[in-house]
Amino acid sequence: MGIIEVSHLTKYYGKARGIVDVSFSEEEGEIFGFIGPNGAGKSTTIRLLLSLIHPTSGSAKVFGKDVTTHGPEIRREIGYLPSEVFYYEGMKVIDLLKYSASFYAGDHTKRLHELSEIMELELNRRISDLSYGNKKKVGIVQGLLHSPKLLFLDEPTSGLDPLMQRKFFDLIRAENARGVTVFFSSHILGEVQRLCTRVGIIREGKIAEISDIRTLQQNNYKKVGVTAAGVSPAAFDLPGVTNVQTENGTVRFFFKGDINAVLRKISGIQVTDVTIEEPTLEEIFMHYYE
């Protein structure tokens, strides 16, 4: 049985679309990536699972319990890091964290200090004096301090500098190694690829694809650009090549398949520049859209 089981979940805000007929499940110990552009319904899905909002139709279970009827019970084992963090402005960081901890059974003081140290969080500052990145750190400590079994991370890395992002990823991996299940929403494909084992792609409120991260990458297009004197598109007449464009002596195309085939072709040309890139998320979506 999955830790999260979502079945035909639909949410409309009045007439505005939230998500439509979303179904997926996440197994215990997984890091599930949930990717999609802004407004696709990522946050809506998480907010439904936390029962901050109520479904229009369909149902969702967390830990095998229905989210609309067993909310408080479920939330005992959940840590949540929202995409935009807002806390009581007048409070000190330490007071907010203690307030947060007070909702969970047991003493979490030790973990609170451990996490603050890792994230280099100054505990005696006022929330209102914190920068966006620092508020995000408060959010991370707040979401983890009660050692939850399931973590909801909604675009967790926005506002964190690269060093902190790395510390944060290490932290999440360590939690995951202890058996914590992670639901990771993001619009940055790279970070999902680094962390997740399985991904769901959501687009305009609907699930476009759910697959293993490996399969996704294997099936994925590479963006290739070759700059050389007198290069012509005909030189890359290979199966798997699409969207060929030529401009100012550069040939650009998408390639899907064994990249060695392209490399062999390139090695026969005197090139001035070569780029092989991951497609952007938008381009992947174009692929799922076609």
Binding site: R47, H54, P72, P82, F86
Partner: protein
């Protein structure tokens, strides 16, 4: 009920309680200190009042008010006390859950393992505690001011008690009506205009009903349900009106719970 939420809510409102209490203390003690002057010049005073148009006196509820007696004079002040208490309670009611939503901290609170009804109950009890503190201050100030300035003039303590006991019913009305309105409108951006509107609006309605002798308005406003001059005059509540008041409070609370439990917490945007 959740003790953590209760404590935080209560502490958060302490400053506001202190300010309202100081204001009310000043209002009661200062105005009642003028009582000896009024009482000594009673004949002159009543003649002076009689010169005002009857409608104006009615607007201030002064038609059946004898400013020469301890409780008559006190009831005049009490109407302004009521106005302050109404605005305070309305503010607390309107802000109870809406502040959390406009400052976007609702996500934090409601993703904790507490049910919506626990949250609302804790918040309501905390607000009620704050209002009761203010209420106590009014009690103490009233007794002290009367003891200090009444001189040799006697009054009926039982009637005063009856008047003071009405405060809690009065506060609950504005707290719960403010709350239910905040949950029925789409979004409360700022609490103060709503709070002032409800508190002051009800007061104005009561004044109008005095001028026009309109019975319908009596049914609407708590300033009439718990009309100070009338309680002093009869030494009793107008039972049907008080029951109506309590009924509105109960319905408002019930609807509030119903709405809040089903509410979609607005997201950031």
């Amino acid at each position: 009920m959740n003790a953590n939420i209760y404590r935080r809510e209560f502490r958060n409102r302490l400053k506001s309680v202190l300010i309202w209490s100081l204001g009310l203390t000043f209002l009661i003690v200062f105005f009642f200190s003028l009582f000896p002057v009024f009482a000594d010049q009673a004949a002159l005073m009543n003649e002076f009042m009689a010169r005002y148009p009857q409608e104006l006196r009615a607007a201030f509820g002064m038609n059946n008010m004898d400013l020469a007696t301890v409780l008559g004079f006190y009831s005049f002040i009490f109407m302004f006390v009521q106005l302050c208490l109404a605005i305070q309670a309305s503010n607390y009611g309107f802000g109870l859950v809406s502040i959390e939503e406009s400052e976007l901290t609702a996500d934090f609170l409601l993703s904790k393992p507490v049910s919506r009804s626990q949250v609302l109950t804790s918040k309501l009890l905390a607000a009620l505690t704050s209002l009761t503190l203010t209420n106590l201050v009014v009690w103490v100030c009233s007794f002290v001011a009367i003891a200090l300035f009444r001189g040799a003039r006697a009054y009926e303590p039982r009637t005063l008690l009856l008047l003071l006991l009405s405060i809690v019913i009065f506060q609950l009305f504005f707290l719960s009506v403010g709350l239910v309105i905040s949950l029925l409108v789409k979004r409360v951006r700022s609490v103060t205009p709503y709070g002032l509107g409800l508190g002051f609006g009800m007061y104005v309605l009561s004044a109008f009903s005095g001028v026009f002798g309109e019975v319908v308005l009596e049914l609407v406003t708590p300033f009439k349900h718990l009309d100070a001059p009338s309680i002093i005059q009869h030494g009793a509540y107008d039972t049907p009106l008080v029951l109506l008041n309590v009924a509105v409070t109960v319905v408002a609370l019930a609807v509030s719970y119903w709405r809040y439990i089903r509410r979609d917490i607005p997201a950031v945007s």
